[in-house]
Amino acid sequence: MIDSQTAAFIQTGVSISVAACGADRLPSMSRGMGCLVSDNGREVRVFVKRSQAAELIENICYSARVACVFSLPSTNRTVQLKGSDARMEVFDAADLAVVEEHIALFLEQVVPLGIPEEVVRVILAYTADDLATVVYTPSAAFSQTPGPKAGKPLD
């Protein structure tokens, strides 16, 4: 379970990445297309593009272990949430608004940093029928904001 502050943070314009490992320990990773915290902070739902996450999805189905990193470009504040009960769910069209809001908030973050909007839109381009949802309970949370506390469990 994550606190309300962390829950709010990971649902803003953060960069999102998801990783899982296969039987050979080879990690796979993919960008997240938005995040939704539900069940009062007990459940994190991250959206991924199936076309870019086939190996990741296979690994999640194999191991159920997952790590997600959420990083706010304007501040470099970064949080990693890990879990051991991850599963894949069919994308719920009701969550399209979350994806669209994520893209808008992420653009607000990175365009002022000099990344052209059209490049960001290429990176985050999607079709609804290509989306899938990673669902898990965060069982460990770490700060990864650059600095001496990087890697420490969240307070």
């Binding site: 490992c21 080879l26 990690p27 997952v66 990193v69 990344i115 990864q144 890697g151």
Partner: protein
């Protein structure tokens, strides 16, 4: 697919930060951002570590490594599979 690293050299600059994924001995993944990836030649890169304790632990323990790199001009993304060779703490490459 094998890639000549020089063809994606722009992605190493860190304009859009790269990411490194590793795996601990229990199968738990770890992700970290990279500010820069150093080009050595078409088959080798160097990564400096300062705060990547878990990443480093996993690599030393034999984890395969994956990088996700993004081209900041066209948005193309590349996943690289790396194998750890050695750590250098002195010399021209280190400096």
């Amino acid at each position: 697919m094998s890639v000549r690293i020089e063809t994606i050299r722009e992605c190493l600059e860190g304009v859009i930060p790269g990411q490194i994924a590793t795996c601990d001995p229990d199968g738990m993944p770890n992700l970290a951002y990279l500010s820069q990836v150093q080009f050595i030649d078409n088959e080798h890169v160097a990564l400096s570590y300062q705060f990547f304790n878990r990443t480093r632990q996993n690599v030393i323990a034999g984890s395969p490594v994956r990088l996700l790199l993004t081209n900041h001009r066209i948005g193309a993304q590349y996943r690289l599979r790396l194998e750890y060779l050695r750590t250098e703490t002195a010399g021209s490459l280190f400096e």
